[in-house]
Symmetry: C2
Subunit: 366 residues, 2 copies
Amino acid sequence: MVRLGIVGFGVHGRHTLAAGIFGGKVLNGKLTAVCDINPEKLAWVKENHADIKTFECPEAMFKSGEIDAVLIATPHYDHPPLAMQAMDAKLHVLIEKPAGVYTKAVREMNKKAETAGVVFSIMYNQRTNPLYRKMHEMVQGGELGELKRFSWIITDWYRPQAYYDSGGWRATWKGEGGGVLINQCPHNLDLWQWICGMPKSISAQVHHGKWHDIEVEDDVTAYAEYENGATGVFITSTADCPGTNRFEILGDLGKLVCEGGKLMHTKLEISEREFNRTNKEMFASPKSTTMELDCPGDAGHVVAHMGILNNFIDAISKGEKLIAPGEEGINGLTISNAIHLSGWLGKKIDLPLDEDLFKAELEKRF
Amino acid sequence: MVRLGIVGFGVHGRHTLAAGIFGGKVLNGKLTAVCDINPEKLAWVKENHADIKTFECPEAMFKSGEIDAVLIATPHYDHPPLAMQAMDAKLHVLIEKPAGVYTKAVREMNKKAETAGVVFSIMYNQRTNPLYRKMHEMVQGGELGELKRFSWIITDWYRPQAYYDSGGWRATWKGEGGGVLINQCPHNLDLWQWICGMPKSISAQVHHGKWHDIEVEDDVTAYAEYENGATGVFITSTADCPGTNRFEILGDLGKLVCEGGKLMHTKLEISEREFNRTNKEMFASPKSTTMELDCPGDAGHVVAHMGILNNFIDAISKGEKLIAPGEEGINGLTISNAIHLSGWLGKKIDLPLDEDLFKAELEKRF
């Protein structure tokens, strides 16, 4: 049994992670400690789960000897420093998304995890979604051929002004480090790179406080180019109602379209690139067949979280391969930072990212 | 009976326009003259339709007194000079798309039509497509509210290298004035502006000869901004296989999605903008209902052409309102030119377009 501690007993910590554990959804782990700065939350733990130790200070919990691993579910900026403190105490770490606000900090976490020899994972729970897993397997496995184009319109997370008014830290550069990119998009930016790979450059149109009275971005259209010439478009906003979630990927062997919980696959009989070279008819095109792929439906939010948590525990106790290893947290965040930077500077950003420039530009906005 | 003459007896002139007229699809007009530089085509006319006069020279046909109106179906660059010659002869004019390659020339055609007092229309036959007509009515009629965003992925016109190799003039700056934008897209760029209106700026990523051995563009991602803050994305290519045709429009009162011959409408009970201002709940959103709109299906290519042709004839004989008036030809072409210019110069292009700059930049590429 891996002994788990949670830092941050809020929406994610209590209502997703702890709820799943209490609900018997975690097989080889148990919750033995909870840390929060709010005494009321700790009082609830004491009253309802007397066997669980409570802490107001994360460091005390990390050094208590009561836990083997820690689940970090605090505000964004705290993820890296808390994770590194825990790693120093030789604890395994699972952090909520985003991995952080700066890629630099994520890089440091990864180094520390390696040095400390602990397991480090990120709650990219959408990687357990069967639709996205299938897309990842098909694109990375080569079944779609060479990537040519993708487009993802992901706007189905409407947020009214009341949402932004609910907490002073929300949607501020200093409090969150951004808007829709850093709060709603981390899963999708991770899936983008997990499925399609990392682009070589990003040009983005970023609108700050366009639909809401906020200082950060709430409307983004990003354009990416890949080393092989492929391009991609990513459109997001928190003001689209009704929103859309449509992810299309084209390779030289076919096309995937994920929308409305369905994944459609069109498979070409011959590579388009090869056909283009060899065909002699003016209006001909490669033959194809289209079918819906059989992916067991998305099992929902809590199950997805538990999928990552069980995998994290099995990685600790049985050496199982991580679904969402810490090293990969840097990729989605790099895309996020590059979009921000492109918007601020009004120009194309080449990757790898100039991390110091990003940090300086972000801090100008504090 | 309006007496019609056709200039250019090729794919459009003979197999679409004349075929429709011969097939009895035109009620109040008859074909009385045909002009082509190819004697074989004229020989076919003489042999099969002895009552139709044939001409090798357009001007001779225009001055012959045998026709009241002319249908121009020649290569792109010839549309404006031929149209103006016909207007000088007081003939009504219907030209194939595109209206021309330069907006300046289209502007001149419009002036001349006004001075000559003739009817001038453009073969924007897709305006008769019931799906697009419905979208036009709903957006321009205000049913969708204020425009917020559109995206159109229009890539379902695959062209292999053999297509481009079939004629030396194809896909050259000098021969056609561009690639996918000027050859495949004119209808769609017209529909864009007809349905959503004209943007105030365009930023485009334009790839020349990316997928084919050609000098002009075959892959475009364009981003547009509107005066009211709305944005749009238009993605096109001739190398996507299988291609996509998906047009989504979001207003503050709802959303339209046109794909696969279906038009889906989601209607909000209250304007999103108003809801955003007045709602007090963090995770609430306006209530909505989604339905498929009943649009009689697209009747096909020839019928669509005949719709515009019959309307043109009725405008001449009965003063009926034009579906695709000449003045509007400038709008789609302005968007096309702005996308080209943005791609060449690597920067955002504000509208109205600097027409002289566009012409100079295009001619640099001859």
